[in-house]
Symmetry: C2
Subunit: 413 residues, 2 copies
């Protein structure tokens, strides 16, 4: 079944909100073998929404919208549903009661405006919303399935996971797709592509995508087959060849992240790590602790944004800062060593650099980053020269440091 995802909201088309919803839905549907073929975004404008719905229902079997179900005036998905499906809105007492109950539990009076959310199209199926007052709406008609979800990400995600996926799974038929993602880092896209295309011939029923991001390049295999086993076999076979070809650059698969992979390696070895961060300001610690349960392998760290903190907390010598400077190999070494002793950990990572846009010089340009690693065995640092973008430089530094640790733990040269 082909799918079109339509995200609704002026804030999406004007770019004042990044559309993470359609990415989440795309991933979830692809995983159950549906083919997301189109995504469209339109503003809070009845005519354009109506047009987008009509185009979607013509070219896809499943159309899922997010947004435009809130209580405020700019939310008008239901009006578009009324026009396209020619169904009236009916007041649902039970839905209103649930909304009231939700506010009661939070100890807040329900604002009168929320009554609108109990007005819902006739003859539709409703998906209960655990986190908010806008229920999901589902209309199945003439071989087409239409689903409208709220735009608040947490609410939309719960509805997709708990309601929409089980519902669509029960209807699914026909060709299937198997997706495998392999994650690499430390090699640029074109070099990776040359390495792969020179060694592997790829079948035309398989699509191999290269997806670069600050943490590396992902390889995404999409194999089509006549049934699950067939698609699975094609995808797995290519994945095997890729793993062999890509070698040390491969750090994980699917939902693995450098954070989770490093975490697992440490937990398996009953070891702990800590961090000393300058230009990343806490981003490395934040990345490590996105993983639930990371307290098992992460003790904490020092955000030594100022030189004073490097001296006071990490024991970096003032002389060293005066001669080599804060962005230098000796400073990265001293930060890593200082942090490891302070936090009594097996490994410490340190990051010091010039994130930009200001603060660069001829000798130390923006994007220059030193990453230090200290363990019982040795303390060393690596120099990196990233680009000119602050956000990008900080992300690159975080992932480069985690990759340094991964290779150190595994003894990869």
């Amino acid at each position: 079944m082909d799918v079109e995802i339509i995200t609704i909201g002026d804030e999406v088309v004007t770019g004042h909100t990044v559309d993470t919803n359609s990415a989440f839905i795309g991933r979830a549907l692809t995983e159950i073998g549906l083919r997301v073929k189109y995504k469209t975004s339109v503003g809070d404008e009845l005519d354009t929404m109506e047009e987008a719905l009509r185009i979607g229902l013509k070219r896809a079997q499943v159309v899922i919208t997010t947004g435009g179900l809130g209580p405020t005036d700019d939310d008008m998905t239901k009006r578009a549903i009324v026009k396209v499906f020619k169904r009236n809105l009916i007041f649902h007492e039970d839905v209103l009661e649930e909304i009231k109950e939700r506010y009661r539990r939070r100890g807040i009076d329900m604002p009168a405006i929320n009554q609108n959310q109990a007005l819902l199209p006739q003859g539709a199926r409703f998906f209960p919303n655990k986190y908010g007052s806008a229920v999901g709406i589902c209309i199945a008609e003439e071989g087409r399935i239409f689903i409208a979800l709220p735009g608040v990400p947490m609410e939309m995600r719960q509805l997709i996971t708990d309601e929409v996926i089980p519902y669509l799974r029960s209807l699914k038929t026909g060709q299937t797709i198997k997706v495998i993602k392999l994650r690499t880092t430390g090699i640029i896209e074109s070099a990776l592509a040359e390495m792969i295309t020179s060694k592997i011939k790829i079948d035309s029923s398989i699509n191999l995508g290269y997806l670069p991001s600050p943490c590396g390049v992902d390889l995404r295999i999409i194999a089509t087959g006549s049934n699950d086993a067939d698609a699975e076999e094609r995808a797995t076979s290519l994945a095997g060849q890729l793993v062999e070809t890509v070698g040390k650059y491969l750090y994980g698969r699917e939902e693995d992240s450098l954070e989770s992979v490093v975490g697992k390696l440490l937990v398996e070895r009953n070891q702990k790590m800590c961090v000393a961060e300058s230009c990343t300001g806490g981003q490395l610690g934040m990345a490590i602790t996105t993983i639930p349960g990371s307290s098992a392998h992460f003790n904490g760290g020092v955000i030594s944004y100022s030189n004073d903190v490097k001296v006071w907390q990490l024991g970096v010598e003032e002389d060293l800062l005066a001669t080599a400077g804060a962005v230098s190999e000796p400073c990265a070494l001293a930060m890593a060593l200082g942090a490891r002793k302070l936090f009594r950990c097996d490994y410490a990572l340190s990051i010091t650099g010039i994130a930009g846009p200001d603060g660069g010089s001829e000798e130390k340009p923006v994007g220059l980053v030193y990453i230090g690693l200290s363990s019982e065995k040795r303390t060393f640092a690596r120099k990196f020269q990233f680009g000119s973008n602050r956000e990008f430089n900080r992300s690159r530094a975080v992932y480069a440091s985690l990759e340094l640790l991964r290779r150190e733990i595994l003894g990869i040269v």
Copy 2:
């Protein structure tokens, strides 16, 4: 001029990449008064791309694509251009030279596959790419403007800012739009809407949107006018009324963030802050240091993820941890006080909580967060009960702590 943005790539429709590109473009074009009416995403599939291009060129005057210009096999935007515009690809020697030069500067041999990127459509205008080897392609034909940009965010952004915006600005005519964003925090969307609609009558030429996010609810005014001054006047007038109505909940406008607003307040007062983070793991420090130049007001912090670090670094008493626990008001107070003394700052913020999904109990459920603030004047803490989502809870805690500091500095009760 109506605009359609088309983002191309399997990774976008399957959701394996979040489409931040179209948000960036949407914002940039809205700011110069163009109306982004549609966004579409399609996979790396020639037929679908061709169809999307044709629909776009029919319903919008400006069509901008991102993605599909890379050197690898899955990048096929140029093939779609050939089909839709009936133009041949021609080898551009000068473009190849520039690509080679770029690799030379990085000390890498150009992979042979990059030669493809010098094959470009006949009779097009090219926008130079500072950060990569895919140039921007622009075709103006029959009153329509078509622009193809690479999908790598840093490259696309540079091309939009340096090339596309100046180019489109020079062509612009007709009705204009003025957008004003007001940023609020500490109040939920529906309460804000009731507060506003009960006091202000909004003209039909103006659209007022409510955009909730973990840091609060933004109000986005889009006013249409016959010229710049007209649109500006309408938008400014409503903004004035909103500022008055919303009062203390308003923390900024446009590109202001809580991080930047708090930073400015501290710099104006020649004061410094530091942080002590438990459940947020460095995210508060990271947020503060997204602002270039934040070393002027931010000394650093301790990521006290484990209890040991709270004791060793911040001087939290072991007894206190044993009796009240790490997620408690006394612990938040001790962390803030400890951090302020350790880092010799005017203000310290502390965050300790249960981010989830595990670790909750009847007495201390997931989402419970204590935020402490210590200054020369006083040390206090506030209790927050957020939701069940780890990522969301951590973001909410970061913004709630910054808002606490903003109000403390300004003396807002």
